[in-house]
Structure formats: structure tokens, C-alpha cells
């Protein structure tokens, strides 16, 4: 067998032998071409938006742009049929004008227009074309009398027509930077030669059962096989596989090797987190078990129904109902295709919820993005990477289009900006689901049928699990294109609809999603304790010609695997047929303890489940931590408080995210009680969202999150505590009960083979444990994404250590939920919690250009009592508005509450409770005004309280730091008096609001609004 056998599978089903230069025009496709443009007298919003995007990249030679939605239809259709398809389906009679071009002909383009065509590469999912083909068939639009229902081959593309005097080089740049993503798209600049590829490709090599010779391979050869096969297996792992098969007296097959690589990948196995670590002389046997899991075990809450072992964590909501919550990362796919990567990220976590227990119904999505600065100069974007603005727009659109189409409200999230994310952005997506209590557990019995449901399997997403386990580099976008998947949310929605019917009729007893590692991971996991056999030729394919290994490890989207008792199979298949979802029996679960794979009857893989799941050598990694050597800059004085406050409000991290939130349907399902944006103008940044998941019950569920990469770089352990504190106080602010709160951990880290990176991870995990134990908030699920680095040449850019904590809280009665906008003049403003000189990592110091310092840490002794006291006051109806103090401190919180409520506030900084941080030597100078305004100390709240309720509030918070620091005014101004009584700022609400709108957000909102 040659080395080529292990080469990367090609994305393109047709051989990519087209080596002609791009300038040589290819022949026009032998297919009817339909391009649907807006009528000239109707505006084209796509064109307006494109012009803005072109201006942003410095192309000013384009005066007008119009988008044509293009379709290729089979040449066999006659002209009348094509005309009917256009009139009935493709064009609107009022707003559209269609241009129809005969097969092989050039389109009749008005003179003076440059054309840029963007088509999906062959083999990339084209959901629009599938919908069009099915609609034509169902409506009989291509009927010839005898072939009513035949589904024609259809392809879609986009045709941009540009007017102006842009040079060819400029047009190429427009195409690459704005209109196409060449990872998945074919770009044609003034070239009408679209590919037309209806024919099925001939079968590929039938080498599935061929053995891969390992026995005599030396270490160098083993490493070479792993690298060239994109297996991402370490030398130790390759040696373990070599030894295992030597014992069996045979060589592994390609499919077996691929199965082991998927199952043992960092993505699936979390080898680092569960591995052995030597940390500065101390041996940690299993970091995960000793930190995150230990906190949950020690807390032992009876409302935790299912933790860590299923697709998501499950907690009790009320007596008969549970909630399931999961957050995932989809970092590397989003770096090379932001739209598709984020879309399939959210699609994947939704499937986690569909596959938890016996399946939960998704009721909310969350998202969190970490990207480079929006104003990064173009020449500082690393080679091979996209500008942070393009990445952010793409991931927002990806989450929007997938979540909105699924009918799941996206209700909570955040965006963080740091140069460290420029080459390696982070994309987190979460889903909350609801399920009956008696659906929380699943089982698999020998004899059950293995049924795959949903989308078909193609060559998309090969090696996603192993791809996400290595670092990105400047050529990732070309070498890893096969790892990119395109989502098809309507197929997933069909699966959801059918699945819930089948669940409620108990037609299956086990279920899991096809995520990373595809069928290999799904069937391998479900059959872990018994065994399974699969006939790979039965798996429905998008196009023929996949090898057995490709079928087995493809990460094609929108698929789930069920374990179905044989007696229920017929009924189950009928449920899926009724919803137009493909469901296919592909094998059965056995009691042999083996995973047997066949293709056309021939055995192509036969693995021992024990070796597959427990044969991974546990690596021993070295970790170390040295605190960054920086001198404490203290708290420098602020010479212009108004200007500083306005600058902080405009910081991209603080500034309005309304341009994102409004693109998400955060209202669908009609269960929102507290919305992400609050206040009379809907521009107040809420702390979290509250849902009323069970109609008729006043019990609610709050979702909130916390993260801060700047703290992580200074103090990973303290950062973990601080962001857990932030997630909890956000949840408490909207009415959540901190004692009925479950949390999720999502770590994104750099390369943990570097001891200092791993050391930071150990500290953060310990911080999570200590904080969770102190607050009494168990972790119920989580995920780690390591190896987030970007390599350019010999330089490696690592992300800051990033931990996202997501909180799910019970709100005892939604009628007592609270929003952050000020409600009424004359009310008092209470500051709860102590302010300390710990501004390391604060936005104030970043703005001042000062590095280092002590990052804030919560006081774990006192913080739980503070959270409980504030929750008690809110639940008792004593609080009209509540906001947590985080980025930008008291100044930003007060400003946001004021403009959100269209009211004003006066604060007396002299009354702010201040204390020294523990271990402070008092060495560095601390400016008292800046300290009170901009410190980001944890566990602090600003509460609006009616004067009549002031005594009751003070009683509840007795013994804890708390003071009335000001009051609400009718005039919309924010007045700040310094510790000595002097006026340090007096700002109009309109100016605060305008600053908070932010330059980037304002530009985003204005990009196309007319």
C-alpha cells in the first residue's frame, strides 16, 4: 500500500484537474441559467450593503451593485417549462425581473457592467438548490406527462453586477474579500464558465479493507502516517495502536485507524483535562475529576438530574420537568468560514440538546464571540486570516440564520475584543432545552436497530474532530477546507419535529447526535458497553463514491443516531416519513463488545470496544505557573472623568450590541419575560434573560454569562472565580436564585503542551472548583477547546486564556423579575458590595495604556451572602432596577441604567464602601475618585429602591458592605460628586446614549438602513 492511501480526502467529488489560469474563460454551462434581479425601479438592499462593504475595504471604483439570485436548471427542460418555473417559483411578479439564458449561451448583460459570479464548490451543500429541486418536483413544474414527480438537478449561484470603473485587480479583491469565501465558493470574475455537475462521480478506490502496515514502522514512520493521514495521533498513541495490532497478529485497516483517531482526538476525549499533569512538582492524576467534577460531587444537589455523562447537563425545573443546558465551541471552523462555522456550531449544540436523555425541545440559544479589535488596521491582520469585522459579521449572520430558522430565540451572550483573538477567534454557542423528567435517561439494548435520521452523508466535514485539535496556521483555509460544513437548518427543524413525536411515543430508547467524528463517534459511544455492527453501504449518501472510511467519519450535519427496539422500527420509520425526514436502519447493537463495520458484506473494521474507548495512553504533561512580573500600577488619577466615561461607554466591549441582538429572533416561542434589550427605547443592555418555559406556570429560568480574557492573562485562578461571580450576579440581577443555579464551564486555551499554558489551565480549573464550592453552584456540563493558536511563519500567536461561564438559574416567580433601566425619579440608589483597588485587567487601565496590576477576585467568604441577600431583596419585590458592576465599574453601570430608563442619577462617590484588597502593601498610589468610578471589583450591584422600601432593604443586607450612594432624577443627566464633594462629571443622558451606541455599532446599524 502506498502512502497516498492516507492522503487527505478531496472535497470535490469530481477530479479537480482544472489547472487553467483563472483569466482563461471557461465554457458556459450546458444548462438553463436563470438570474433573478430586483427590477430597476425597486431598490436592491443587497446592493446597498455590498457598496458599504466595498467602501470599507477601500474599493471606490464601484458606483452601483446589484445582486442576481442565480439558478442552473437541466438542459432537458423546454423553454415553456423554464418560463413556468421562473414565473411560479423563482421570481416575484412585483419586485423581480428574471434573465433566462439558454444552455451553453452567454447571458445578455447590459453593457458597462462587470460580473462577479459566486457558486458553491462541487460537493459543498447547496440547501437552496435542494429546496428548488423538490419544489419543482412537487408542483410538477418540470412534468413531461410521464415524469410528474422527478426531482431535477439544480444548482444555485450569486451573480453580482457592478457599475463603475473598478480595475480587474480591484474586482478580484471585491470577489475574494466581500462576495466569496474561496474555502467553499468558486469565484468567477468576468467569467461565465460556471461548473455544471449533475453526473454522479464514478466509485472511488475500493481499498477499504486494505491494511495499513504499522508493524515494522519506526517512530519516524508512525509520526509520518499520523501527519499525512491528518489523524492528529501522538507518537505514544500510534505506538499503542501498533502494539495492539501486533498482539492481534494483523495490521489495522484504514477505517479502524480513522475510528481510533476520531475517538482518541482531543476534541472527543479531552486527554489533557483528564490526563495526568505534573505541576511544579505536584502530581495531578485527573484535573477534571479533581476540580470541576469534584465540586459537583461534593455539592451533591438533589436537583442535578444528569451531569457530565450525557450530551448536556440536566437539572430539575419543576416536579415533572427538567431543563438541559449545553455550550459548545466551534472555533477553528469559524476562523476559516465564519458564517458556516458559526451556523454549524449552533446547529451542533442544538443537536446536543435533541440528543440529551431521550431528547429535549430547544427553547433558547446563547452565543459568545471573542474576536480581534474592530478597528485593527488592515495591515495588521495576520497573513491568511480575515479581518475581525468580517469574522464578527459572519459569525453573527451564521447564528442568526441557523437559530432564527430553527425557531429558537437567541437570548443571551456577549462579545469580547482582544488582539490575541485576531488569528484565532472564539465562537461559543449554547442551547437550553426542556424535557419531561422521565425522559432524562437513555439506554441501549443488544438487538436494538441502529437508525440514522436526518441529513445525508457527504464528504463534508472530514476530519473536523482532529482538525480542531491542532493549531490554525496561515494555510489552514486551503488545507482544511474539507473540515468545513454547511448547515441546513430546515432539515434539522424537520428532525426536531419528527423526533419529539417519536420520543413521546417512546419509539426509541437511545439517541445521540452525530457531531465531531460523525457516525464513528455516535455509534461508537452508544455501543460502548455492548457492541455494534454497521453496514456502511446502507448509509444514505448525498452523492455516490464515498469510501467506507469517509462514510464512517464524515461530519455531515443534521444527523442523529437512534437505538430502536426491533418491534418499534416500522412505527418509528413512519413517523419520520410523515415529516419528510430520511430515516434508515444501518445496523444493530450487539452483545459482543466489538465494533464491526462492513461494506457490501465485507468486514472493513473489527475493533474491541474496550481498546477503542480505554486504550488511549494517558499522557503525562508538565505544567508550571509564574505570575507575570509586573509592578502594581495602583490606580492612576483620571484628569477628565466625563471624557473617560464616554470613552469607556464607546469601548467595543461595553458599547451597544443592539446591531447583533436585533438580528436574532429573541421573541420566538413567546416565552421571554426579560428580554436582552430593556428600557423604553429598547437600548438598555440587560444583565441576562428570563424565560417562562412552562405556559401557565410563573416559574422562570434565567440565563446569564461571564468572561474576561484580560483577567485571565494576569491571574487565571482569580479570573475563573471572577467570571463565575459575574455570571451569578448577572443571573441574580434579573431574578435568578443563586442557590438554584447551575453553571457550565467552557475553556478555550492555547497549546497546553506548553507548560505555562497548562499551568494556567490548572489554576483556572482550581479557581472554578473553589468558587463553585463557595457559591454552592454545581457545574453540570462543559467543554474545553485547547490548541487555540495561530501560526504565521515561525511566529505563534496564542489566545489569552479564556473561560466562559454560563449560568442557568431558577426564578421562583417571574412576576418579581427585574430589569436594569431606572424606573422612577426620587428612588434611591444602593451600591452593594465593596470596592477595592484591584484594577488589573480593567478597561480603565487599558484605556490609560497601563499594563499589569492586580486583577479582581471575589471574596469567597462573603460573596455568597451578598448574592443571597440581593436575591432575597429582589424576590421580596424591594428592587425596581438592578445592574451588576463589571467592565467600566460603577461609572459605566450608572450611566447605562440612566440612559436606558430615560432618567438621570446623582451619585455621591464619598459614600461608596471601599476596603483594602487582601495582602495590599499600600505601595502604589490610589486615586480615590478613579478607584470608586472604575474599579471592577466583584460581587457588586447598583440597586434602585423606592424610599419606602429602604429600611427593609437595609435590614436584608445588614452586616454586608452596602450604602445609599445616590438617587434617581427626572432630568436625564448623570451627576457624579467626588469623595470631597466636588462635581467630577455632569453628563447629559443623550451624550451617554450616543457614546454607548459606539462607532463600530453605529456603522454596523447604518450599513444598509435607508
Amino acid at each position: 500500500m502506498s502512502e497516498l492511501t492516507l492522503a487527505k480526502p478531496s472535497m470535490t467529488p469530481t477530479a479537480p484537474d482544472d489547472s487553467s489560469p483563472r483569466s482563461a474563460e471557461r465554457p458556459c454551462p450546458p444548462a438553463w441559467r436563470v438570474e433573478v434581479f430586483r427590477r430597476e425601479e425597486v431598490d436592491d438592499p443587497d446592493g446597498v450593503e455590498a457598496l458599504a462593504a466595498l467602501a470599507e475595504i477601500g474599493v471606490d471604483g464601484v458606483r452601483a451593485a446589484r445582486l442576481g439570485r442565480g439558478y442552473l436548471l437541466p438542459a432537458e427542460l423546454d423553454r415553456a417549462q423554464v418560463a413556468r418555473i421562473v414565473e411560479e417559483l423563482l421570481a416575484d411578479p412585483v419586485v423581480d425581473r428574471a434573465r433566462v439564458t439558454e444552455p451553453g449561451a452567454r447571458p445578455d448583460v447590459p453593457p458597462g457592467r462587470a460580473r462577479i459570479l459566486v457558486a458553491r464548490k462541487p460537493g459543498v451543500m447547496d440547501p437552496v438548490a435542494l429546496t428548488v429541486a423538490r419544489a419543482i418536483a412537487r408542483a410538477g413544474l418540470a412534468a413531461t406527462g410521464s415524469t410528474h414527480g422527478a426531482t431535477p438537478h439544480v444548482q444555485s449561484f450569486r451573480a453580482w453586477e457592478l457599475e463603475g470603473d473598478a480595475s480587474r485587480a480591484e474586482l478580484e479583491r471585491c470577489g475574494r474579500r466581500v462576495f466569496a469565501n474561496e474555502v467553499i465558493d468558486e469565484l468567477h470574475v468576468d467569467d461565465e464558465g460556471l461548473a455544471w455537475s449533475p453526473a454522479a462521480e464514478p466509485s472511488r478506490r475500493a481499498d477499504d479493507a486494505v491494511a495499513v502496515p504499522l508493524r515494522d514502522a519506526d517512530d519516524a514512520r508512525l509520526e509520518q502516517l499520523s501527519r499525512e493521514g491528518e489523524l492528529s495521533l501522538s507518537l505514544e498513541e500510534m505506538r499503542a495502536i501498533q502494539a495492539h495490532f501486533a498482539e492481534l497478529g494483523r495490521e489495522p485497516t484504514l477505517v479502524e485507524l480513522e475510528t481510533l483517531a476520531q475517538t482518541w482526538s482531543e476534541h472527543c476525549k479531552h486527554k489533557t483535562f483528564a490526563g495526568t499533569i505534573d505541576m511544579d512538582g505536584e502530581r495531578i492524576d485527573n484535573l477534571f475529576r479533581e476540580t470541576i467534577q469534584r465540586a459537583t460531587r461534593e455539592l451533591d444537589r438533589d436537583w442535578c438530574v444528569s451531569v457530565f455523562h450525557d450530551n448536556a447537563g440536566i437539572v430539575e425545573f419543576d416536579r415533572g420537568t427538567c431543563l438541559a443546558f449545553k455550550v459548545e465551541t466551534h472555533n477553528h471552523p469559524s476562523a476559516i468560514d465564519p458564517y458556516g462555522g458559526a451556523g454549524t456550531g449552533i446547529g451542533g449544540v442544538i443537536r446536543d440538546i435533541l440528543g440529551v436523555g431521550l431528547g429535549a425541545r430547544p427553547i433558547a440559544n446563547t452565543d459568545a464571540f471573542f474576536v480581534g479589535p474592530p478597528d485593527l488596521p488592515e495591515d495588521e491582520v495576520p497573513r491568511g486570516a480575515m479581518h475581525p469585522r468580517r469574522i464578527l459579521r459572519g459569525v453573527v449572520a451564521g447564528v442568526r440564520d441557523y437559530g432564527n430558522r430553527m425557531g429558537i430565540p437567541t437570548v443571551n451572550g456577549g462579545v469580547w475584543f482582544d488582539r490575541g483573538y485576531t488569528g484565532n477567534p472564539l465562537v461559543y454557542a449554547g442551547t437550553l432545552g426542556i424535557l419531561p423528567r422521565d425522559c432524562a435517561e437513555k439506554a441501549v439494548a443488544p438487538g436494538d436497530v441502529v437508525v440514522v435520521v436526518g441529513g445525508r452523508t457527504g464528504r463534508d466535514g472530514i476530519h473536523g474532530a482532529t482538525f480542531s485539535s491542532v493549531e490554525l496556521h496561515e494555510e489552514s483555509e486551503t488545507v482544511s477546507s474539507a473540515a468545513v460544513q454547511i448547515g441546513d437548518p430546515i432539515t434539522e427543524k424537520r428532525v426536531l419535529d419528527a423526533l419529539l413525536v417519536a420520543r413521546d411515543r417512546r419509539l426509541y430508547r437511545g439517541i445521540t447526535d452525530c457531531g465531531a467524528g460523525g457516525l464513528s463517534s455516535a455509534v461508537g459511544e452508544m455501543g460502548e458497553d455492548c457492541g455494534a455492527e454497521v453496514d456502511l453501504e446502507r448509509v444514505p449518501l448525498k452523492y455516490p463514491g464515498l469510501t467506507a472510511a469517509e462514510i464512517w467519519i464524515s461530519e455531515a450535519q443534521e444527523r442523529m443516531v437512534l437505538a430502536v427496539p426491533p418491534d418499534d422500527l416500522e412505527a418509528l420509520l413512519a413517523v419520520f416519513v410523515a415529516e419528510d425526514v430520511e430515516a434508515t436502519a444501518i445496523g444493530r447493537f450487539t452483545d459482543t463488545g466489538r465494533l464491526v463495520l462492513r461494506y457490501d458484506g465485507a468486514v472493513v473494521g473489527d475493533l474491541d470496544m474496550r481498546f477503542l474507548h480505554d486504550g488511549t495512553p494517558r499522557p503525562v504533561r508538565t505544567a508550571t505557573w509564574t505570575a507575570p512580573a509586573t509592578s502594581d500600577p495602583g490606580v492612576p488619577a483620571c484628569d477628565d472623568v466625563p471624557a473617560t466615561l464616554l470613552a469607556l461607554l464607546a469601548d467595543p466591549e461595553v458599547a451597544s450590541k443592539e446591531w447583533i441582538v436585533r438580528q436574532y429572533d429573541h421573541e420566538v416561542q413567546g416565552a421571554a419575560v426579560v428580554h436582552p434589550l430593556v428600557g423604553p427605547r429598547g437600548d438598555g443592555p440587560g444583565n441576562g434573560s428570563v424565560l417562562q418555559p412552562v405556559a401557565g406556570s410563573r416559574r422562570g429560568a434565567a440565563l446569564a454569562c461571564g468572561a474576561n480574557p484580560r483577567y485571565g492573562a494576569l491571574d487565571p485562578e482569580g479570573m475563573a472565580m471572577a467570571v463565575l461571580d459575574e455570571a451569578l450576579r448577572n443571573a441574580v440581577c434579573v431574578g435568578g436564585d443563586p442557590r438554584r443555579t447551575a453553571v457550565l464551564d467552557n475553556f478555550s486555551w492555547g497549546n497546553c503542551r506548553r507548560p505555562e499554558q497548562l499551568g494556567a489551565l490548572v489554576l483556572a480549573a482550581r479557581g472554578c472548583r473553589d468558587a463553585a464550592l463557595a457559591y454552592g453552584t454545581p457545574f453540570i456540563s462543559g467543554k474545553d477547546s485547547l490548541n487555540n493558536e495561530y501560526r504565521v511563519g515561525d511566529r505563534t500567536l496564542s489566545i489569552p486564556p479564556t473561560l466562559l461561564i454560563s449560568a442557568l438559574s431558577i426564578v421562583p416567580d417571574v412576576a418579581h423579575a427585574v430589569t436594569m433601566d431606572l424606573k422612577e425619579a426620587g428612588n434611591l440608589l444602593y451600591l452593594v458590595g465593596a470596592t477595592r483597588a484591584e484594577l488589573g485587567g480593567s478597561l480603565y487601565l487599558r484605556l490609560a495604556g497601563v499594563e499589569g496590576g492586580r486583577a479582581p477576585r471575589p471574596d469567597l467568604e462573603r460573596a455568597p451572602a451578598l448574592l443571597a441577600a440581593v436575591h432575597g431583596a429582589i424576590a421580596a419585590g424591594l428592587v425596581r432596577a438592578a445592574h451588576d458592576l463589571s467592565e467600566g465599574g460603577l461609572a459605566v453601570a450608572a450611566a447605562e441604567m440612566a440612559f436606558a430608563g430615560e432618567l438621570g442619577a446623582v451619585l455621591d462617590l464619598g459614600r461608596v464602601p471601599v476596603e483594602d484588597p487582601p495582602g495590599d502593601d499600600g505601595g502604589a498610589p490610589v486615586d480615590p475618585t478613579a478607584l470608586r468610578l472604575f474599579s471592577e471589583s466583584c460581587t457588586r450591584f447598583l440597586l434602585e429602591v423606592e424610599p419606602q422600601h429602604a429600611p427593609a432593604l437595609e435590614r436584608r443586607i445588614q452586616g454586608l458592605p452596602c450604602a445609599a450612594v445616590g438617587h434617581v432624577t427626572a432630568e436625564p443627566r448623570l451627576g457624579l460628586r467626588g469623595p470631597a464633594g466636588e462635581v467630577v462629571a455632569d453628563l447629559a443622558g443623550a451624550d451617554l446614549r450616543a457614546a454607548h451606541a459606539g462607532p463600530f455599532a453605529t456603522a454596523e446599524r447604518g450599513r444598509s438602513a435607508s
Binding site: 408542483a139 432564527n404 430558522r405 416561542q669 405556559a695 430589569t819
Partner: protein
Amino acid sequence: MIAGRPRTLVLRTAGTNCDRETVLALEQAGSEVDVLHLHRLLEDPDRLARYAALVVPGGFSYGDDVAAGRVFGLELRHHLLAPLRAFVDRGGVVLGVCNGFQVLVDTGLLDGTADAPRRERGYALHANASNRFECRWVTLRAEECACPWLEPGDVLPMPAAHGEGRFLVRDTAVLERLRANGQIALRYVSSGAPDAPAEYPDNPNGSVDGIAGLCDPTGRVLGLMPHPERNVSPFHHPLWTRQPRRSEGEGLRFYRRMIEFAARSA
């Protein structure tokens, strides 16, 4: 007249996603509700006879591929137009919300004239002026119109959530005809002053004449872009924490009136 609680059929297909809250609103409004997949209705169109009202809820039918509501509209036109017309003719009420409105526009059911070809349609729901999907609360005012169950002047806050909701007409003659026929049923108005015409964002999509909802000349077929079923509970309104406790959302009144009329009409 159908005895007992009037029955409503909520028609869904692949990509429909507002069916649950629509059912809840209809039930609270006093209706018995069945949810049926389009394919089941195609197998037996006579089932329509059992119902006083038919609702096409919101969502992204068939992914809104090609255009919002296009494929669902095509399916209804090709397979169900005659039974639907018969349903309206015998007094049945039809409501399309959001994607359902987009579907109704495509079917021609709002025109009232039998079997006019699609190319003669004079109005459309186009991409929002912002070219974006936008989710925000808006205020609607019910107009003097053919729809017998809307109360003229009634002010109805509710969320809009769509990317293709801009009502456009081919020419002013079409607009004149719609006005003359009493087909302009609901308009976006300024949230602070219900008598003032709405500018963006009160008119969230740039609809001509602020048109948010349209009925057919009989008034028994109504479509609107915003979502009355998302303003039913006392806690739906985004400013409920600033107001005295509400007993229900204004959207419930909308559905209640519709069901009461359907009970008399069908």
C-alpha cells in the same frame, strides 16, 4: 354555525416554527385547536370543513429558500387553492402571521378575485429596507377596513421579527384599489402617538403607507407581519416591569375577537 368552542386549524409544514405559541394564544382566546402538517391536509382537503378558522403561523417555511414563503405559497396554490376559496366563501376565517402572511400574499387568497394569474399581483412583501432580519416591538393600529372583527382605532403593541416584510405596491393605482376595497387592515404607528405615521424603527421595514396587515375584500382573510401571539401573557410586553401589573397582552384581544367572529361566521 359550529356548536361548542369554534375549532381552528393551525397549518404547518417544514420550517414552521411559531405553531406552539399560536396554539396557546388561540386556546386562550376560546378555540379548540388542531395542528396539522400540510401533507396530511393534502391527503384529505375535506378536513377543512371541520374548522371555523385556519391559521398559517410564522416561521421559515422550507427555509425561506428562494424568497420568504415562496415554496409554501406555491404548494397551496397548486394543491389547495380551490378548497381554501370554498372555505372562505362559506364564512371561514383565514389568518396568516409573518411567514403566514408572506404565504397568503403568494397564494393570491388576499385578492378575492378567483384564479387571477400570479403575474397580475400588484403588491409584494420585499426585503426590509435595512436588508436585515430585525426583531423589535412595534405598535399597530387597526384601520377602518373590510375586516369585520378588527376594532378600528384599536392600538396593538407586538413584536415584529422578519427580514422580508416591506409591503410594496406595483403602482399607486394598486394602493388606491386596496384603500377603496377596505383592504388596508393594520398600520404601523408611532409608539408614543398612535395617530402619527411611523418612521423607522416604528415602521420596522419601510412598508409603503405604513401597511402592516392586509385583508381580502370580504375581510375574512387577514395577513400581518408582526406577531400578536407573542403579546398574550401579562409578562410579554417589554416594558411590563415599568408598568402597573397587566392582566393580559393586547394580542389576546386580537385572537379573541377573531375567534368570536369565526364562531358566528363559519
